[in-house]
């Protein structure tokens, strides 16, 4: 991919993700109560926490699939979802602008969400052609390479219904990578998989991390968090309770809530 204008010059010093005091309500139910965090370029951040802690909601806010109620989220210095007016008020951004930022953020969903009416290859080719208007032949070559990368070169003609959960999720990762994202979001990418299929998806994620991809990963896979994460964030009750290097979080958690959570699941 050609270098994007935002990566020129001083922009490269900016954090990939800069979330500032993010609040989120669903009607009267407050799900996020002031979440602030930064993700450096090339960093792998794993978010853990009990269900209902707001970790998935927070991840979905990062590409504006959920609208935040207050706070700010910058992706490489560019605010997502909103424009700041001269008087400091935030106005929701135009659909085209939001789509443009999203095109640079890959997302992998718990339930895969492959396009059911398209083959694996068509799934991977869809966005580069429709969104970036890249030439068909070039996109097809890239898509085949990506399917090979996730170990599914021979499944190019298969519809999602013919693929196992693990295979579907790997196609979904290839689909996201086809847009040459600068940031990848993983929303419990292995939670809907049969236990014996979890490994093949984690292996692909691990490979991505090794290649230097910036990743925010919401997961229940503590082994993955321990081995792959540069930093682990523990969320509970809509706030970040504790964060740090995986060794510290898993062996010497400081907060009682973190200790209780790790006690329950390890």
């Amino acid at each position: 991919m050609a270098t994007t204008p935002t990566t020129n010059g001083g922009a490269s010093d900016l954090p990939m993700v800069d979330a500032q005091n993010v609040h989120k309500y669903f009607h009267h139910n407050q799900v996020l109560r002031g979440v602030s965090m930064q993700v450096r370029k090339g960093e792998v951040v794993v978010v853990i926490g009990p269900s209902g802690s707001g970790k998935t909601t927070f991840l979905r806010c990062l590409n504006h699939l959920e609208k935040i109620t207050s706070g700010r989220i910058y992706i490489e210095g560019q605010m997502i979802g909103y424009r700041e007016m001269p008087d400091g008020k935030l106005v929701e951004d135009s659909e085209a602008n939001i789509a443009r930022v999203r095109a640079e953020i890959g997302m992998v969903f718990q339930r895969f969400n492959l396009f059911a009416h398209m083959t694996a290859l068509q799934n991977v080719m869809e966005a580069p052609i429709q969104v970036k208007h890249e030439p068909h032949d070039q996109v097809e070559a890239k898509a085949r390479a990506l399917l090979a990368k996730v170990g599914l070169a021979e499944k190019d003609d298969a519809y999602p219904a013919r693929l196992s959960g693990g295979q579907q999720q790997r196609v979904a990762i290839a689909r996201a990578l086809a847009m040459d994202p600068k940031l990848m979001l993983f929303d419990e990418a292995t939670s809907a998989l049969d236990p014996e299929l979890v490994g093949e998806v984690l292996a692909v994620m691990r490979q991505l991390a090794d290649e230097g991809m910036t990743m925010v990963v919401v997961t229940h896979e503590m082994g993955f968090a321990r081995e792959v994460a540069d930093r682990v964030i523990f969320m509970d009750g809509g706030v970040i309770v504790e964060e740090g290097a995986p060794a510290n979080i898993f062996t010497a958690p400081q907060q009682k809530r973190t200790q209780d959570f790790l006690h329950r699941i390890l």
């Binding site: 590409n63 504006h64 699939l65 609208k67 979802g81 929701e92 659909e95 085209a96 939001i98 789509a99 443009r100 999203r102 095109a103 640079e104 953020i105 890959g106 997302m107 969903f109 339930r111 895969f112 969400n113 492959l114 396009f115 059911a116 009416h117 869809e126 966005a127 429709q130 969104v131 970036k132 519809y159 999602p160 219904a161 013919r162 579907q168 979904a172 689909r175 996201a176 847009m179």
Partner: protein
Amino acid sequence: MNQILAFYHHFDWGIVLPSLFKPLIIQGLIFTVLISVISQFAGTVIGLVLYFLRRSRFAPMRFFADAYIWFYRGTPLLVQILFLYLALPYLGIAVPLRNFDFFGAIGFTPELFFLDSFLAGVVALSLNEGAYMSEIVRAGIDSMDIGQMEAARSLGMTYAQGMRRIVLPQAMRVIVPPLGNEFNNMLKTTALISDISFYELLGAAKQLGNPSFRGLELLVSASIWYLVLTTVWGFIQSVIERRLGASSLDPALRNTRWWERLMGIGRGVETAPAIPGTVAGVPPVIQGDRR
């Protein structure tokens, strides 16, 4: 029954069969198909538009769509047809057109085809069909997993792109079977237009049969044609459904035979196809958030 038949002296099959191919009947047949296709097409477009109005962020648009559907589903179609027939001339729509011999120009018997009847009929059927199609479109689109649209958006597609490329093509599989039923209905509902002096199939049959006191025979002739139309359509519909279901794993959707379709006993034709992630019976509503 005997008394009725006695009035006609005898029921004469010798009139029924030759009447099938009388020019006026054939012309009526062509018009029945023409009106059905136009009205179903326009009604489907109106139904789509109504769906998006109902999902609009702007309250007046939602209100308009709801009021439209409430009105068209709440009044008799025959009343709507008669109303438009009487109202169109006031709008000045049909009167200038009537002087243009459209039907004569394409080889029909002009004095028996009134353009204002034709217009009133097509417009009334289309508007009415739109109200019903919007419900079918809604059922189809809302039965899609919301995750499909979210995945499209996460890749940088807009709402319109996601609809056009991802959601609508899949919703078609759910929409087509009831759409086919609507068209089957439409083929027969056009008969109402005979009440505003238009000589579609039934109008032509009445025109030929009533003056000669052979109404019963001509009604049977018309019925034979209606049966031919719906049978042929049932065949076409099952072919379309099988094509659409080609990538589906649900055998019920793929293997609906044309005669099952016709008899309404096809397995699974009214249920949602097996699209992974779709919760059967609980259509997830596409939320108001259109970003």
